[in-house]
Symmetry: C2
Subunit: 220 residues, 2 copies
């Protein structure tokens, strides 16, 4: 991980010049970028408003001029996270038939999660960010729609009966979310053993797609 930030939010430090870009890059953006730096560096537990303010080089109250409260900051991060995830899925699920696209999308999903563990963890933390927040709903729905489109392609391909599209969507999402979650946070001895994360990321989505396409899913 090291210095490589998620959306490459490098901490802008203090801008020495007070040029026009200061207006185009107001503290709101600085706060969000600093939040990403902090959450990837110190984890969700270290993501306090005051730590973010310190990282952004402002007083502990400055963020409140741009966000109503802590949750609104986190909700914005979550929305941007889902957008980044959706972008990754869209970029991956472009070529081939439905099965191939599902495998590719699943791989991209887990890869994105593992590459941005701090952000990814934030996506599924309703205790921190209400699931009903409009921006979270929008961005999350966008990511889900990519998977939905891929599953729909499998229905079009005839490898999946239409009535199973939504349950299979849940199965697919569950699998990639579960794998990502276990790879990032898994308390059990998965790693270090015979299992290799890269192999799992490549393998599990492909096998999931193949398994879904196998007989049994078109009839019942």
């Amino acid at each position: 991980m090291s210095a490589a930030p998620p959306h490459d939010p490098t901490l802008p430090a203090e801008r020495s010049d007070g040029d026009a870009s200061a207006a185009a890059d107001p503290l709101r953006r600085r706060v969000l970028d600093a939040s990403l730096v902090v959450v990837e560096r110190d984890g969700v537990a270290g993501l306090s408003i005051r730590a973010v303010a310190r990282a952004a080089g402002v007083s502990h109250q400055a963020p409140y001029k741009h966000f109503e409260n802590r949750e609104e900051i986190l909700a914005t991060l979550v929305a941007e996270g889902f957008d980044g995830l959706a972008d990754a899925l869209e970029g991956a699920a472009t070529a081939g038939d439905g099965v191939a696209r599902l495998g590719a999308a699943g791989r991209a999903y887990v890869q994105w999660a593992v590459a941005h563990p701090g952000s990814y963890r934030l996506l599924f933390r309703p205790d921190l960010v209400s699931a009903t927040h409009p921006e979270v709903q929008r961005a999350g729905g966008r990511a889900l729609d990519v998977l939905r489109t891929v599953v729909a392609a499998m229905v079009d391909d005839g490898v999946l009966y239409g009535d199973y599209a939504e349950p299979v969507l849940v199965l697919a999402w569950s699998t990639v979310h579960g794998l990502a979650s276990l790879l990032i946070d898994g308390p059990l001895p998965l790693r270090g053993g015979a299992l290799d994360a890269d192999a799992l990321i490549a393998d599990v989505p492909a096998r999931l797609a193949a398994g879904i396409a196998a007989r049994g899913w078109t009839t019942g």
Copy 2:
């Protein structure tokens, strides 16, 4: 373990009698039970040591006489949670061939998680409880071993090639963990729509088991 049920913990209030069971039910147990009550009622966010102490009717420092720090309390809860989950899995995966047992275990897994959302969330929170805690490792490994045994039965049945046992274990665990996680915390519009949680809990593990058993998993 004794009189206090690990799940369905009702707050014992103040014992009016100072009988012998007071020695068998010391504050340590009361703190854990109060923690479960608090986490199921107020979520992980509300699970502070002081809130637990208040719920147990003691001073804010009393818990520290039985646990080194907050993490040790939470680690104990996590270990008990994994034990409860393992019990549920063991109780479910008893009858039928490997495929049937995998479906039953998967169903039991998700049912347990949905029945104990506060506890379940705690199981995958390494920011709160270190994954390397010995008791967490033991209990978590126990739960995983139940699934491992079931997958091994599928290998014995000949529906799964032995080399795939461990990846399929990950797939199965990912799926049930992902489904449980999404049902509990999913920020996206899964519920309220055409999807019914009970149906998913019954359906997804069964389809997962059937999908694994389908052709493609025995050869590669």
